[in-house]
Subunit: 206 residues, 2 copies
Amino acid sequence: MSTDLYDVVHRRRDVRGQFTGAPIPAEVLDRVLGAAHAAPSVGLSQPWDFVLVRDPGLRGAFHDHVRQERDTFAATLDGAAAGTFARIKIDGVLESTLSVVVTYDAGRGGPAVLGRHAIADAGLYSVCLAIQNLWLAATAEGLGVGWVSFYREPFVRDLLGIPDGIRPVAWLCLGPVTHLEAVPDLERHGWRSRIPLVEALHHDRW
Amino acid sequence: MSTDLYDVVHRRRDVRGQFTGAPIPAEVLDRVLGAAHAAPSVGLSQPWDFVLVRDPGLRGAFHDHVRQERDTFAATLDGAAAGTFARIKIDGVLESTLSVVVTYDAGRGGPAVLGRHAIADAGLYSVCLAIQNLWLAATAEGLGVGWVSFYREPFVRDLLGIPDGIRPVAWLCLGPVTHLEAVPDLERHGWRSRIPLVEALHHDRW
């Protein structure tokens, strides 16, 4: 398995259906979380926390909530899109080895966070940079990551006892996989195709 | 120069003072932007755009704005923090080879973006994942990246003609550097120290 950055970046996938549930060696998990924790952060605030959720009861309760939110989204779709969506698996919460819930603490490093006075969301951005480091490190280790976003933040806060003022940003399923698909699930299932880079490029002005 | 993922993750720095201004070969820039564009995104929406800003007039105008915002932030600090902050360089806009402004288009892939109905910010998160891919790829190529966040979003929108509804998320300085520091600038200058990973870990519940 290559750990070359570009190989990892292009091999990485958002995994739903390929988790095996096999254990993750402790030193591998340490490296993956260490990569997340090495991310850049506004004002060196490191405003992230990681809740490692292994408890089957907690994961089961979350999975039930995700199913309800799936139904909520499905009800907004017209016929063709609804048919496509019905074929798409949206989470691997029960099959993956564990979940990593990543949160944002806006109070950390405060009150004057260097670089955040003009852009309140800059701390939230930092948390996402940590998530991408985690995702790439997991890929380099032969693990899969699936970001589940069919949930309401207050539900996750209540479920895990996350304090007021701390915001859940991501629920990530993590663990060994049988393989990574070459093409993203949503493209394979005809939900949406990737656009070429050139369509997203501008020079000097928009 | 190693392109091993972990080496890149831990070598990466937020660069302010080490830019040389040397040109970036076109194929290198293509690889770096290609890595950004390979990031995961909610509903495969790929809601990012990249504005490559080389024009000295535009960069000069942005730099002047950053200096004003620096003064605004400095005025909020008490004596000791103000003294520390006075020694910290906060941008390399003029010295770096070019700037990459990364934006978020909430309308892309809509109206029903799979995975965003419950979490409006999920699209914004995707843009940040692309930024971290860009940052790591640049590091692997021997380039530096400096994320400047001392600006007001409306100023950048007006300066670059970014349409209504498109949000500027990051102003990144990019280019060859003399070296990357082993310790983050803010830690070297005594602004703030990194916390150990163990302080950010929780098991099952917070």
